[in-house]
C-alpha cells in the first residue's frame, strides 16, 4: 500500500467541478511533482487529502486511512499549504511550541526543526515581521515537527528567492532520501523539474499524465530531434514534405516526434549536408503546455 493513495477523487463546489475522478499514488522515498496550471484543482486535491474539504466522491488516504482518522497526525503527515498563515503577533518559536504541545512533541523538536530550516536566529522575532521566504521555512519547520513519513507541500517555492529555491530543492531531495513520500504541487515547472522523481499532471481537475519524470518528459510524441544544416530552409521544406512538423529556433530546426535517423534519411534524400543532429527530449515545460493547452 502506497503511503498516499488517491482513488476516484472528485470535488464539486456547487456548479464548479474542481476535481474529477482523480487517481494516483505517492510512493515512499520519492518526490512526486503535482503539476497543473492555476485553477487546475491541485490545492483542492491536497485539501481533500488533508481532510479540509470533503470529497464529492472517491477517497484520499494515508496508508488506507483518512487524515481525520490518523492517530497523532503530525507524526505521520506534515503539510505546508499555499496560504499557510501564522498569527503575526506570535514568535516563530512560540508558534512551533503550540504545535508541539498539540502533537505531544517535546520542545527539543522545536529547536531541531528551527535549526533544520535555518530560523534559529530569528526564532524569537514575531512572525508579522518575517519575509515570505522565512514564512515558508517556518511552515516547513512546522511540517517537520512530528518527523512525519509523508510531506505535502503546496506551491512551496512561491515567494522564494533563488537561494531559497535551491534550499527547497535540497530539502525535498533530502526528505525523499530519508524514505519519506513527498508530494509537492507547483505551477513553476522549471523549479519542479530539478527536484522530482515522479510527475502527476492535471488540468481542469482531470488527470492528464502521470509517471516518472522521464516518461512525462517524453510526452505522447516521444523524442524530438534538433538538427542544423548548411541549408535549413531547404531541409525544412523536405521535412515538411515528408510529413514532419518543423519548428525553427536560433540554433536550427526542431522536429517533434521524429528520431535522428528519420531526420537523417530525409536530409540525405534531399541532398542537404548536416552540421548537427541530436535527439532532444521535450522540456517539461513543452510537455506541460501540450498536456494542459486546453486549460490555459
Amino acid at each position: 500500500m502506497a503511503p498516499v493513495e488517491i482513488r476516484g477523487l472528485s470535488k464539486r463546489f456547487r456548479h464548479v467541478r474542481a476535481v474529477n475522478d482523480l487517481s494516483f499514488d505517492v510512493e515512499a522515498g520519492r518526490v512526486t511533482g503535482f503539476l497543473g496550471p492555476n485553477g487546475a484543482g491541485k490545492s483542492t486535491t491536497l485539501r481533500a487529502l488533508l481532510g479540509l474539504v470533503r470529497p464529492t466522491a472517491g477517497t484520499a488516504t494515508f496508508g488506507g486511512r483518512r487524515y481525520e482518522e490518523l492517530d497523532r497526525p503530525s507524526t505521520q503527515v506534515g503539510a505546508v499549504l499555499e496560504d499557510a498563515s501564522f498569527h503575526p503577533g506570535r514568535t516563530a518559536r512560540n508558534h512551533l511550541r503550540v504545535l508541539a504541545v498539540t502533537g505531544d512533541h517535546p520542545f527539543e523538536r522545536v529547536e531541531t526543526v528551527l535549526d533544520t530550516v535555518g530560523l534559529t536566529q530569528a526564532a524569537d522575532r514575531r512572525v508579522g515581521g518575517y519575509s515570505m521566504g522565512m514564512r515558508q521555512r517556518l511552515g516547513i519547520a512546522a511540517a517537520l515537527l512530528g518527523d512525519p513519513e509523508v510531506l505535502i507541500l503546496d506551491e512551496p517555492t512561491n515567494g522564494l528567492d533563488p537561494p531559497g529555491i535551491a534550499w527547497m530543492r535540497g530539502m525535498l531531495r533530502e526528505q525523499a532520501t530519508r524514505g519519506r513520500a513527498v508530494l509537492v504541487s507547483s505551477h513553476l515547472l522549471a523549479e519542479v523539474a530539478q527536484s522530482v522523481d515522479d510527475v502527476v499532471v492535471i488540468a481542469k481537475g482531470e488527470m492528464r499524465a502521470q509517471g516518472t519524470l522521464a516518461q512525462v518528459l517524453g510526452g505522447d510524441e516521444g523524442l524530438a530531434t534538433a538538427v542544423r544544416s548548411q541549408d535549413d530552409e531547404r531541409l525544412a521544406r523536405a521535412l515538411q514534405g515528408a510529413g514532419h512538423t518543423v519548428q525553427r529556433d536560433d540554433d536550427g530546426l526542431l522536429v517533434p516526434g521524429a528520431s535522428p535517423e528519420q531526420v537523417g534519411v530525409v536530409a540525405g534524400d534531399a541532398g542537404v549536408y548536416l552540421v548537427g543532429l541530436a535527439p532532444k527530449a521535450r522540456s517539461l515545460e513543452q510537455a506541460f503546455m501540450a498536456l494542459t493547452a486546453d486549460a490555459a
Binding site: 485539501r47 481532510g51 479540509l52 474539504v53 481525520e68 497526525p73 503530525s74 499557510a84 498539540t102
Partner: protein, 246 residues
C-alpha cells in the same frame, strides 16, 4: 483533550493582545474600586459586597474569546489549527474550555486584587469591610461569570467568524441592546447573555435597584448561560463540521 487545552492556553498567553487585555481588565477594575472606595461617603446594605463585583474580567475575556476564535479566520490560521487537531468538535470544545479556564483564573487574580485594595482603603477610611463569607460569595460568582462568558465569546467568534463584526456585535449587545432591554422589558432582558444572566449569577442588577427581583435566580441564570453557550456551540459545530476550508 489535555494537549489541546494546553495548546490553546499557550496560544492565549503568547500574544500581546492577551497581556494588553489582562492589563486593561485589572486597571479598569482597580480604577472603579479605588475611586468608589475613596469618593463614596456612605456604604449601605450590600454596597461593600457589590463594590467587589466590579471585576471587568468578564468583558475582556469575552472579547479575548471572540478574538481567539474569529482570529483563526482573520489570520488564516484555522487551516493549520485543524491540520494539527482534525477533530473539529474537540478543537471547539477545547477552545471554549481553555477560555473558560483562563477567564476564571484571570477573574481570581483581579477579584482578589480589588478585594485587597478596596478593603485596605475602606479600613483606612474607617468604614466596615465585607465579611469573609461575602468576599468568598463574590469571588465564586465572579469566577463563574468570567468562565462562562469566556466560553461564550469563543462560541460567538466561531459562529460569526468575522472578528471585527463579532467584537462590534458583542459590544453593541452588552452596552446598548441589553441595557436598553432592561429598561423596556426587564423580564426578557434578564435572559441576556452579556448582562442579564450574568447579573443573575452575581445577584446584582447593574441597571436597577440592587434589591429588585427582576433578576434570575443564580442557579437559573447559570443554566441560561449554559443554554447560550450550548446554542453557540451547536451552531459553531454545524458550521465547522459541514464546511470546507478552502
Amino acid at each position: 483533550m489535555t494537549s489541546l487545552l494546553r495548546a490553546e492556553l499557550l496560544k492565549l498567553r503568547t500574544t500581546r493582545t492577551f497581556a494588553a487585555l489582562v492589563g486593561a481588565a485589572l486597571a479598569l477594575s482597580l480604577l472603579v474600586v479605588v475611586l468608589t472606595a475613596l469618593l463614596t461617603d456612605e456604604f449601605r446594605g450590600n454596597d461593600v459586597r457589590n463594590l467587589f463585583l466590579a471585576d471587568f474580567t468578564g468583558l475582556f475575556i469575552m472579547l479575548l474569546g471572540v478574538m481567539g476564535m474569529a482570529g483563526e479566520w482573520r489570520h488564516k490560521t484555522i487551516t493549520g489549527t485543524i491540520l494539527a487537531a482534525p477533530d473539529r468538535l474537540r478543537l471547539l470544545a477545547a477552545k471554549m474550555l481553555s477560555y473558560a479556564a483562563a477567564g476564571a483564573v484571570l477573574s481570581l487574580i483581579v477579584t482578589l486584587t480589588i478585594m485587597l485594595v478596596g478593603t485596605i482603603i475602606l479600613s483606612v477610611r474607617g468604614f466596615d469591610t465585607a465579611a469573609i463569607s461575602d468576599l468568598v460569595d463574590v469571588l465564586w460568582r465572579n469566577l463563574l461569570v468570567a468562565g462562562l462568558v469566556g466560553a461564550l465569546g469563543v462560541g460567538i467568534g466561531a459562529v460569526v467568524r468575522n472578528q471585527v463584526v463579532a467584537i462590534i456585535a458583542v459590544l453593541v449587545l452588552g452596552f446598548v441592546l441589553e441595557p436598553a432591554l432592561f429598561g423596556l422589558a426587564p423580564d426578557v432582558a434578564r435572559f441576556g447573555p452579556t448582562q442579564g444572566a450574568p447579573a443573575g449569577i452575581v445577584d446584582a442588577n447593574p441597571f436597577g435597584d440592587s434589591d429588585d427581583n427582576t433578576l434570575l435566580a443564580p442557579g437559573v441564570a447559570v443554566l441560561v448561560m449554559f443554554g447560550w453557550i450550548g446554542g453557540f456551540f451547536a451552531a459553531a459545530a454545524a458550521r465547522l463540521r459541514g464546511g470546507d476550508l478552502v
